[in-house]
């Protein structure tokens, strides 16, 4: 009997030759959210109010009401999140094709560069050098930008908000044009609070990751953890946002399937 790809996958999961790596930060009230200039509306943090916990409000059951912004915690950005994607078809989380929720990832490691310079900018030249070393970035992949930024969660250095704004790494416009138009990426997956660099408002064009990704129907994944646990090629990302009617994004659980390297 020939075994189907899914049967093979099921066997691999069962014998742990394929492992699941959790790329999700815990949704908690103190998980940082993006901070905009004070005169703009702000991103609501995660909140949880107990309804009952085996008490007079519900003797045998425990449950909570939760509230948050669509872009709180580890979250997915749909094209409608940005003005450039506002008129695209299927641009909200409820309409994004389910096929796109499962896609392979290529991991670009800029953790050393980001450690040396919090404002490190990913350029097309850097990507071309990277391809010369590792091979071409395959089409229809998530571009997972490993910065090790997730290790800063719980410290002021995560948002890294100084008096002149946030300082965190991200791509410039030409890098994004390259990834979207020449490498046909599914989206950009990052550990920082946004797909754009902390100072990207001052770039030309401003906020290029949001602008170019969403303007071309691509997605963002933010506030990921554990990208350092993924291989450069071969990880499969499963990222299913909540089906929020007309939603611009959604908190979600993101996992990666990776093949275990033989000991």
């Amino acid at each position: 009997m020939t075994r189907s790809p899914l049967t093979l996958l099921a066997e691999a999961l069962a014998d742990r030759t394929v492992e699941c790596i959790d790329l999700t930060n815990t949704l908690s009230p103190d998980f940082p959210v993006i901070v905009l200039p004070a005169e703009f509306g702000q991103c609501a943090p995660f909140r949880m109010e107990k309804v009952s916990r085996y008490d007079d409000n519900g003797p045998a059951w425990y449950w909570n009401n939760i509230s948050m912004n669509e872009h709180t915690g580890t979250h997915f950005d749909a094209p409608a999140h940005w003005v450039t994607g506002k008129d695209l078809p299927s641009n909200t989380v409820d309409a994004v094709p389910a096929q796109d929720f499962v896609a392979p990832a290529v991991v670009i490691d800029i953790s050393n560069e980001a450690a040396a310079d919090a404002d490190f900018v990913l350029t097309r030249a850097f990507l071309e050098d990277w391809e010369a070393q590792h091979g071409e970035i395959p089409k229809r992949h998530w571009i997972a930008l490993r910065t090790d930024w997730y290790k800063r969660v719980g410290t002021p250095d995560y948002l890294n908000l100084k008096e002149d704004g946030a300082h965190s790494p991200g791509p410039d416009g030409r890098a994004m044009e390259f990834l979207v138009h020449e490498r046909d990426c599914v989206g950009l997956a990052v550990e920082t609070v946004g797909t754009d660099a902390g100072q990207a408002f001052h770039f030309n064009p401003p906020l290029p990751a949001h602008s170019i990704l969403h303007g071309n129907g691509r997605y963002g994944l933010q506030c990921l953890t554990n990208l350092d646990k993924l291989p450069t090629f071969g990880a499969m990302i499963i990222a299913c946002p909540l089906k929020i009617e007309g939603g611009s994004g959604s908190p979600l659980r993101v996992i990666a399937l990776v093949e275990r390297t033989p000991a």
Binding site: P29, D30, G41, R47, E49, P156, Y158, L159, L161
Partner: protein
């Protein structure tokens, strides 16, 4: 002079804390009305509209001519004719506070009244009369020396009528603002032993953080009133050690009702201002209630700083005013609950404060130091309602005279 209050020793863990009892509470409606003036720090007695005689205690009609009685501010002067020291009482609260001195005062306003006495007041003295709320929220006449004397506030009998911060441990809920920091400093200056200074976002810097946190007596704590878990966690740590809560948190954004309003701002205003107040009360009030008569640093007061616009609504700041109205309403409910256990529930009403969110409003705006003085005054006097700044005083006076007219005036 009054003996200065000793710094309280740590408690003997084998001793059960004294119950937070309150003096007898059954009063007439007229006496309850008198309490509303006591809550403002006013000294009022009833005056007959027909025969002009002044009467005390509170009555429904004039005892001389059956005329209608009207509350009116009176001269505070009096002379103590006789002094009595009570050594036994059938009332459980007073039994715990024996001996207790009372006296007969001939009020300059006319009536002779039985009054509580400050320790330095003797027979024959000219005194200054104050009308205060007792621990159960009832009005009481209290005679103090005519002129301020050293440590006057430390008199144990007077201290039963105040929430003086001296030697007490205070939680200031939001220290990230200039107002929170000014209040924390003023409380320390007024003798507070410790100010636990709340920070809703400890990972984010704020102006003045290094200076205020370096000050002796300040203990920074993580507290976010929009997060129930954060409030419960701090209450679990500090519950039995907080004697006064001063809520300085608030979220004000401009906006109307149908025009220029943002619902996300409205939600944030209510969640921090109104729901946050309830979270704070649920976290801290029960433990405070159990410690309201626990010696020098007994739990004493729950104070909320609230925009005066809560009384009237305010065009241009409709959401903030609505949230303030909800806060005032919750504070009324809390006052009723806490009266059973002798914790004072105090509101400091403020006009627009001089901060980033009132940049375009005309002066006078309330400066942080002004608000801090009002908070310390409210606590040292045990005063239920205190207005900080001229805008609040003006609006409160208009609202008392005619609430519906004030609502119209503030919303056009």
């Amino acid at each position: 002079m009054t003996e200065p209050l000793p710094i309280p020793k740590r408690k003997d863990p084998l001793k059960r804390s004294r119950f937070g009892l309150v003096p007898p509470g059954l009063r007439s409606r007229a006496a309850s009305e008198m309490a509303t003036f006591a809550a403002q720090g006013r000294f009022v007695l009833q005056s007959c509209d027909r025969c002009r005689s002044i009467t005390y205690p509170p009555r429904d009609r004039c005892p001389s001519c059956w005329g209608t009685l009207t509350w009116a501010d009176q001269d505070r002067g009096a002379r103590i004719e006789a002094v009595t020291t009570i050594r036994h009482s059938t009332d459980n609260f007073f039994r715990n506070h024996m001996p207790w001195r009372i006296g007969t005062a001939r009020l300059d306003a006319g009536p002779v009244a039985i009054v509580h006495l400050h320790g330095e007041v003797q027979q024959g003295d000219r005194v200054r009369m104050t009308l205060r709320l007792d621990r159960g929220g009832n009005p009481a006449l209290f005679a103090v020396p005519q002129k301020e004397t050293p440590n006057m506030q430390d008199d144990p009998q007077l201290r039963c009528f105040t929430a003086d911060p001296k030697h007490r441990r205070v939680l200031v809920t939001d220290g990230r603002t200039a107002i929170g920091q000014a209040i924390a400093r003023a409380l320390l200056k007024a003798g507070a032993q410790t100010v636990f200074l709340g920070d809703a976002d400890p990972l984010m810097r704020y102006p003045g953080k290094a200076e205020i946190e370096a000050q002796e007596g300040i203990e920074p704590v993580s507290l976010n009133l929009t997060d129930s878990g954060s409030v419960q966690e701090l209450a679990a740590q500090l519950g039995g050690r907080v004697d006064i809560v001063v809520n300085t948190a608030g979220f004000v954004r401009p906006g109307g009702v149908a025009f220029g309003a943002k619902l996300s701002d409205l939600q944030a205003t209510f969640d921090l201002g109104a729901v946050g107040l309830a979270r704070l009360a649920q976290g801290f009030a029960p433990a405070m209630s159990a410690r309201s008569d626990d010696g020098v640093n007994s739990a004493a007061a729950f104070l909320d700083i609230v925009p005066v616009s809560g009384l009237s609504g305010q065009s241009g700041y409709a959401g903030a005013a609505a949230s303030a109205a909800a806060r005032l309403s919750l504070m009324s409910g809390l006052r009723g609950e806490m009266q059973q256990s002798g914790i004072r529930v105090l509101s400091v009403l403020t006009g627009p404060v001089d901060d980033d969110w009132h940049q375009d409003l005309p002066q006078p705006k309330v400066a942080p130091g002004q608000l801090a003085r009002a908070v310390v005054h409210a606590l040292t006097e045990g005063q239920g309602i205190t207005c900080a700044g001229d805008v609040a005083k003006d609006l409160f006076a208009r609202w008392q005279a005619n609430p519906l007219l004030t609502m119209r005036e503030e919303n056009r």
